[in-house]
């Protein structure tokens, strides 16, 4: 009988420990073997939770970034509206040259603001540069850029070979477009020259832009007007770095040197949002905002009333384009806000799934514990009673 008693006490003790563990951890499943199926479902559910948590965090980061962008665009729109008012004012026949000059100066101020807004960065990355976020997208343009390689002693020639894979970009401030030339084996400066010519015919670059070898033996890329500017860059070792020729800076002219690529961030299992608006889409597609302002300033300084009127309506067109772009940004912003509330609901749902998988119903667990304690006491009492008296006790 003793082994029976021992076994009963052991079982009762085990049940008591298990009940106590449930109450103190709040979990019904404390090791895998307690419920293998529930344990596996928990593992999968936790992985989903981790994703939801990350999406929530992503929404917050992206919202923050896009609200900054939206605020910059808002300033640009305000500035453009002011510019249109000023342009209209300047087109009225009663304006004197001095008045027009004054208006032009105000417009130059507005242009600086707009460029500043277009160059806004968020946590160190330019917002409107596409994916080329390490540099500012709108750079002051010059009429002429020259290569660092080449000298009178050893000049570059049209036959000078270019390295395969090298990239040369020419961004035009007037058209607002960029020509990108990637060299392949066998290309030379002559190939680059004809590429430039094609770009001009296509309208990517302003009419008259050429690539030539200058008197100093360097490659020189330039526009043919002192009011039209470019920004050139190249990573070809044969050319060396391209820099603006001194004194060739064009006032109020800025070229876009970013790209048009868009980053997407996942904020839901099947929802990714575009997180940036490339400057090329925002400010140069449809019409070149900066170029239009530049033309208006030039017209006010030295043009006819008709030219001012034409330039002002170009700025209006540009403003319409910016407003259109802004609509898609606002659309994304509200999509993010509703995703935020959806995700927080999902978080709650998942938590309750996980609790139901492995959590102990505390009321039940407490009741079980109290029952186990009662049973344990009963077993011990019964054991004491059952410990047999032997006959010897009675044979005195």
């Amino acid at each position: 009988m003793i082994p029976d008693v021992q076994y009963a006490m052991q079982q009762s003790q085990q049940n008591l420990s298990a009940a106590l563990q449930q109450v103190s951890t709040g979990l019904r499943v404390n090791q895998l073997s307690d419920d293998p199926a529930a344990s596996v479902n928990l593992v999968k559910s936790l992985a989903t939770s981790a994703n939801i948590d990350q999406y929530t965090s992503n929404v917050t980061s992206v919202l923050s970034q896009m609200q900054t962008a939206d605020s910059a665009i808002s300033s640009i729109v305000t500035s453009l509206n002011t510019a249109i008012t000023l342009g209209t004012q300047g087109a009225t026949g009663t304006n004197s040259t001095a008045n027009r000059a004054a208006i032009a100066t105000q417009l130059e101020g507005l242009l600086t603001n707009i460029v500043g807004n277009a160059n806004t960065s968020f946590q160190g990355a330019s917002l409107f540069a596409g994916t080329a976020t390490s540099t500012e997208p709108f750079v002051a343009a010059s009429t002429t850029y020259t290569s660092s390689n080449g000298s009178t002693a050893s000049p570059l020639t049209t036959a000078t070979g270019l390295n395969a894979g090298s990239v040369t970009t020419i961004s035009d401030a007037t058209t607002g477009e960029t020509m990108t030339f990637t060299a392949v084996t066998g290309n030379s400066i002559a190939t680059l020259q004809s590429a430039v010519a094609s770009a001009v015919s296509a309208g990517t670059l302003s009419a008259g832009t050429t690539a030539t070898i200058n008197a100093a033996g360097q490659l020189s890329i330039s526009t043919n007007s002192s009011t039209e500017g470019l920004v050139v860059s190249s990573n070809d070792a044969a050319l060396g770095a391209m820099t603006a020729a001194s004194g060739t800076e064009v006032a109020d002219a800025y070229a876009y040197v970013g790209n048009s690529n868009v980053n997407k961030v996942q904020v839901g299992d099947s929802l990714s949002v575009a997180t940036n608006l490339p400057g090329s889409n925002l400010l140069t597609s449809g019409s070149n905002v900066i170029g239009a302002l530049n033309s208006l300033i030039t017209a006010l300084k030295s043009g006819t009333t008709d030219e001012v009127t034409t330039a002002t309506s170009a700025v209006q067109t540009a403003l319409n384009s910016v407003s259109n772009q802004r609509i898609s940004l606002d659309g994304t912003l509200s999509q993010l806000e509703s995703q935020e509330s959806y995700l927080s609901q999902e978080t709650v749902t998942l938590k309750s799934v996980q609790t139901s998988l492995v959590g102990a119903n505390l009321a039940d667990a407490a009741t079980n514990l109290s029952a186990a304690e009662t049973t344990n006491s009963a077993v011990l009492a019964a054991a004491a009673k059952a410990m047999p008296n032997t006959l010897f006790d009675y044979l005195k």
């Binding site: 090791q31 073997s33 419920d35 936790l46 980053n263 997407k264």
Partner: protein, 460 residues
């Protein structure tokens, strides 16, 4: 019929009573000795003799003692012990492995999720060096989680390997001891005793210990018990015991060989040795293979995604994970980070540092099926399930066997166990018998005196 015959009958009674008292004493003394089978006195009526036409009894013959055994119950207990030991051996090992696959802050599942979270976080600002550092740190933690899981399994396997050698040594010792008892018991039986008595008790205890170690089949014959294991390999035949050997196989594990050097490892299926071999040779290698496959395929998928993009310097992405040291392929034990420079994370799809286009390819590894047919998360979850359900089964088997053993032992106790109440009653019984026989002797003695003094004057 004479007084002296009566006297010798009385003396026989005294012997019988004192012999029975001695047996009762022995039972009481051994009431708590494990494996002791209670003895009863064998008392037989002595053959009667005839005196003319009258047939008279010749008293009692004390025929020694007999142990009360139930051999069938004993056999069932031995079998259940094999099952219980086997299940316990498996349970202990599995419980040591369970924590590795239980959700914590550092298990493989958690670290894998953390890595994907860090990659997603990086996609909000691909050029951020803080976020890049976090990705590298997460990658390292995942590699460490794999390394730890693998080493827990291999060290468990190693411990089991040592256990195999120990078990085999113990088996050999027990075989020798059992074999030594066989001729002694055979002699006793040849000498007229129907049962081996205390020696048989000893042998049964040894066989029970052996059952706890491995699967044994027992057959009785007139040369004693014959024990075989596994595929029929003899352990004990009569007075001869046959030792098992261990030798290191090509897999680095100890294999069990019989006397003819045949490998009998896979035929040892229960007892501590059987359970240990099952976990060492089947369960753990299976888990290690799954773990290595997951580590390898996961690392390859991540590396492929890296190679399809560009890093912060505009160069094509290189490997994210690699095999450490001199290992030729990535396994759970050898997986480690190939990148230490945060700029080498291939987040860009167009060569510029701000592009996050390739991170989508890295994130896609989470939801894409690996060559094994499951996503990384599901593959890990399958392993969790396997460990959990094996442990749960071993637990259930062990509990069931313990409960059955308890019942069987209870039954055996009711047959062969010493009941001190019964022995106390026997004490009284034999005490009274002795007193009565002594009184007979006294009576006969006084009768002798009276007889002697018949016809003399001294008794006046």
């Amino acid at each position: 019929m004479s007084l002296s015959t009566s006297l010798s009958i009385a003396v026989q009674s005294l012997n019988a009573a004192s012999g029975a008292l001695q047996i009762t004493n022995n039972n009481i003394a051994n009431a708590n000795t494990p494996g002791y089978t209670r003895e009863v006195a064998v008392l037989q009526e002595a053959g009667s003799s005839s005196d003319g036409s009258v047939s008279l009894g010749n008293g009692v013959e004390f025929g020694g003692y007999q142990s009360i055994r139930d051999e069938l119950l004993q056999t069932r207990i031995e079998q259940e012990t094999q099952t219980q030991s086997g299940a316990n051996a498996q349970l202990t090992s599995l419980q040591a492995i369970e924590p590795t696959f239980t959700t914590s802050t550092t298990d493989i599942g958690t670290e894998m999720s953390a890595l994907f979270s860090s990659i997603s976080s990086l996609s909000t600002d691909a050029a951020s060096s803080t976020l890049q550092q976090t990705v590298l740190a997460s990658g390292q933690k995942l590699a460490t989680a794999f390394n730890t899981a693998s080493s827990t399994l291999t060290s468990q396997q190693s411990a089991l390997n040592t256990q195999v050698t120990q078990d085999v040594n113990e088996i050999n010792q027990l075989s020798q001891q059992i074999a030594a008892l066989n001729p002694k018991i055979a002699n006793l039986k040849a000498g007229g005793q129907s049962d081996g008595g205390t020696l048989q008790d000893q042998q049964d205890a040894l066989v029970l210990k052996l059952s706890a170690l491995t699967n044994v089949s027992i057959t009785q014959s007139d040369i004693g018990e014959t024990l075989t294991t596994g595929d029929g390999t003899a352990l004990v035949v009569g007075a001869q015991s046959y030792a098992l050997q261990t030798s290191t196989g090509t897999d680095g594990m100890e294999h069990v060989l019989n006397q003819s050097n045949a490998n009998i490892t896979s035929s040892l299926t229960s007892g501590d040795l059987g359970g240990t071999i099952q976990i060492r040779d089947t369960t753990i290698p299976g888990l290690l293979t799954s773990l290595d496959t997951l580590a390898n395929q996961f690392a390859t998928a991540i590396n492929t995604a890296q190679a399809s993009g560009y890093d912060q310097n505009g160069t094509k992405g290189g490997d994210f994970f690699t095999a450490s040291g001199s290992a030729t392929s990535i396994t759970a034990a050898s997986i480690t980070m190939a990148i230490t420079d945060p700029a080498k994370i291939a987040s860009s799809s167009d060569g510029s540092s701000g592009s996050n286009g390739n991170l989508a390819n890295l994130s896609a590894v989470q939801t894409t099926k690996l060559p094994s047919g499951e996503t990384p998360g599901d593959a890990y979850a399958s392993m969790v399930y396997q460990v959990g359900s094996l442990t749960s089964s071993a637990n259930a088997e062990s509990s069931a066997a313990t409960s059955t053993l308890l019942q069987l032992n209870d039954q055996l106790n009711s047959v062969s166990g010493v009941s001190t109440d019964e022995e106390a009653a026997n004490l009284i019984q034999y005490q009274q018998a002795y007193e009565a026989a002594a009184r007979v002797v006294t009576t006969i003695q006084s009768l002798f005196s009276i007889t002697m003094s018949m016809g003399t004057n001294a008794a006046a």
